[in-house]
């Protein structure tokens, strides 16, 4: 036994045909070992916090109940400029938070037809900015945020600042998207209607 142990370090680097094979095998395994190291990093670094956070938020959502959010839907349908933030800010945020992707889009049913595309645009644009603070809303697409956030973690910087700014900018962006898409939808709907009437005449 001790003879074997003593001999091992003296073994020469394999050369020739088998040497090439051995190096290829080493390289091949190394390829996946690099991936495995990354995987363990993700499992240890992200999963524990995520599980606890997801459980807490899931419990909160269950405790509050989805029915209560639906009341906002009816309110958001009203015309007038003061309802824009309700329709394209409050309603998307609440539906993404409580109903999560992809069920959040069902809240569109409370709105008149002309607002539905804009509401969809607004809420679908919020399923990623919310991830930094509330990953329960869209766990299947976490890496849009975590991919980039992992780089920040590698540098040893905190993620809180990035997560909050991502959320805030997301809020501004979904409001702009809602308004712009509503304008375009109105124009397209009007054009489609005249075209249909023209075809009928």
């Amino acid at each position: 036994m001790s003879v074997l142990a003593a001999e091992t370090p003296q073994a020469e680097d394999p050369t020739g045909f088998f040497g090439v094979l051995a190096h290829a095998a080493e390289w091949f395994i190394g390829l996946f070992q690099a991936g495995a190291d990354n995987f363990v990093g993700l499992l240890v670094g992200i999963i524990p916090l995520l599980i606890v956070l997801l459980t807490a938020v899931n419990a909160l959502v269950r405790a509050i109940g989805i029915e209560r959010i639906e009341r906002f839907g009816a309110m958001a349908a009203r015309p007038g400029i003061q309802w824009y933030p309700v329709r394209y800010l409050l309603l998307p945020v609440l539906s993404v938070f409580f109903l999560t992707n992809p069920m959040c889009y069902t809240m569109g049913r409370f709105l008149p037809e002309k607002y539905k595309p804009a509401f969809y645009d607004s809420s679908v644009s919020f399923v990623h900015p919310i991830l930094g603070l509330f990953p329960h809303a869209n766990p299947g697409e976490l890496f849009v945020y975590y991919g980039i956030a992992a780089g920040i973690t590698t540098l040893g910087l905190g993620l809180g600042d990035l997560a909050v700014r991502f959320l805030l900018v997301g809020l501004v962006v979904i409001l702009i998207r809602g308004v712009v898409t509503e304008l375009i939808t109105t124009r397209l709907l009007a054009r489609n209607t005249t075209r249909t009437e023209g075809a009928l005449a």
Partner: protein
């Protein structure tokens, strides 16, 4: 367990005080049971999501990251992407490209493209090729196509009429071409002061 014993005593005793006490105990028991039930179910949902959605994607990402890093492909990509992702103009270019109405529905599904590009950029940020404050605008630059593959389904979930879908699909796609770059610019200005002290 103790609640049950108390209840039995109360019913056998038959006095009103005992009856009231047992009523309170039953209510407390039910409330506690409800809270525990909600938390337990939430935990069950969470583990389900982690196993079904999160860990499979981590495995997928790890394979890609492993290959990219180990083969040196990462360095090649970094030379290509890092200059783009380290300036506002470059980020706008990425964003406009992803928002082109024909491309955006193709790039959308499952946000896979955004996630893979996100991981690549993250690796580069970690390596120091891209300044950390560019993380915020990059998050928007790689993602103007979000949900563009899903518009008809999303609208159907909102019980929209076929006419609405007909107008809604191009409306959202065109809107992205305008609001995508706007989002990047807003995020760029919002990133001032982010990690700058470092």
């Amino acid at each position: 367990m103790s609640t049950t014993v108390e209840n039995e005593k109360a019913t056998s005793g038959g006095s009103s005080v005992m009856g009231k006490a047992s009523g309170v105990l039953v209510r407390v028991g039910k409330a506690v049971g409800g809270v525990v039930g909600v938390l337990y179910q939430a935990g069950r949902d969470t583990i389900d999501t982690v196993i079904r959605n999160i860990i499979p994607f981590m495995a997928f990402v790890s394979v890609i990251v492993g290959i990219v890093n180990y083969t040196g492909l990462g360095n090649v990509l970094a030379n290509f992407v890092a200059p783009l992702a380290s300036s506002l103009i470059g980020l706008l270019a990425i964003c406009v490209f992803c928002a082109i109405p024909v491309l955006s529905p193709v790039l959308g599904p499952g946000a896979v493209i955004a996630q893979v590009v996100g991981v690549l950029l993250g690796t580069r940020i970690g390596a120091g090729d891209i300044p950390p404050q560019y993380a915020l605008p990059a998050l928007f630059a790689i993602n103007p196509q979000v949900g563009c593959d899903f518009i008809p389904v999303g609208l159907a979930l909102g019980e929209a009429e076929p006419e609405t879908v007909e107008a809604g699909v191009p409306a959202v796609l065109f809107s992205r071409l305008i609001t995508g770059p706007i989002a990047v610019v807003i995020a760029y200005f919002a990133s001032f002061g982010l990690y700058s002290s470092n």
